[in-house]
Subunit: 156 residues, 2 copies
């Protein structure tokens, strides 16, 4: 199975009064080959934003968790953290999802949302909060001297 095209770029879209927002077209294209046409969202434990991915990614996680002994503590902890809080959100014919109010509230999203590609996943931020975070991240990266070990994409 080929490596998934990564989520790239940052997009800023409006959120309407029903909590609907367009998933950016390039992100929809990343997931075009999946059977579930939508995204899975859940609250980040690291930042005040929403984490997003495709259902395929979630199914991979499910298989990984399932490799563990059924009913073991590891299985239970991971399942509770990953799956219980996940919201599968199908997009409509126009490519919009409806954000759950509880995710919007914690991320502080009201009128706009910033979709931020993170490779295999993406994040949905309140745009100003993201600008603040981005500034901090860039400063950290410059101070530490960012580097990344590269490996070839595996094919089967």
């Amino acid at each position: 199975m080929q490596a998934q095209t990564p989520f790239l770029g940052t997009f800023r879209n409006k959120v309407d009064r029903k909590g609907r927002v367009s998933v950016p077209a390039p992100f929809r294209q990343v997931l075009a080959g999946e059977s579930f046409q939508g995204v899975v969202c859940f609250l980040s434990h690291k930042v005040e934003a929403i984490e997003g991915c495709g259902m395929g990614f979630m199914s991979e996680l499910s298989e990984s968790v399932a490799d563990m002994d059924l009913f073991s503590d590891n299985h239970q902890d991971l399942a509770s953290s990953l799956f219980a809080d996940a919201h599968p959100l199908a997009w409509d014919s126009g490519g919009r999802i409806q954000l759950p109010p509880e995710l919007m509230d914690v991320a502080g999203i009201t009128e706009e949302a910033a979709f931020v590609g993170m490779g295999k996943t993406f994040r949905i931020w309140e745009p100003k909060a993201f600008s603040t975070y981005q500034g901090e991240r860039r400063s950290q990266a410059r101070q530490k001297g960012l580097s990344l070990p590269l490996r070839r994409a595996k094919e089967e």
Copy 2:
């Protein structure tokens, strides 16, 4: 065989005086392709909640147990705890199941039930008990630094 769509999300539904409760529509959709239209429920041995899955998952467990030596202690213990106490619950045309009183009693479920996706299975909690459990789990996950080795989903 492709990975099953995981049970995701948490839903809170009312339990009526007959012990009926709606299985959330997304959970019903996960099991839509199975011949037995319902769920299998049994008491958790780890937490005070009800464990739920589809009949297909139960069949897989049955195969796993059958791989063990027949009449061995392991076989007997697992069979006793998994199959003897399992309740197959067909849902009606509206998607409701009727919870056995003995499962409701142990889980402390009276007026509402929280359906909690766990990937290949799900749990049914008394909502307040689940909130308490969830708070504890999150605290533990942050302290331990949760991580999961990822592997690709296998296809046949």
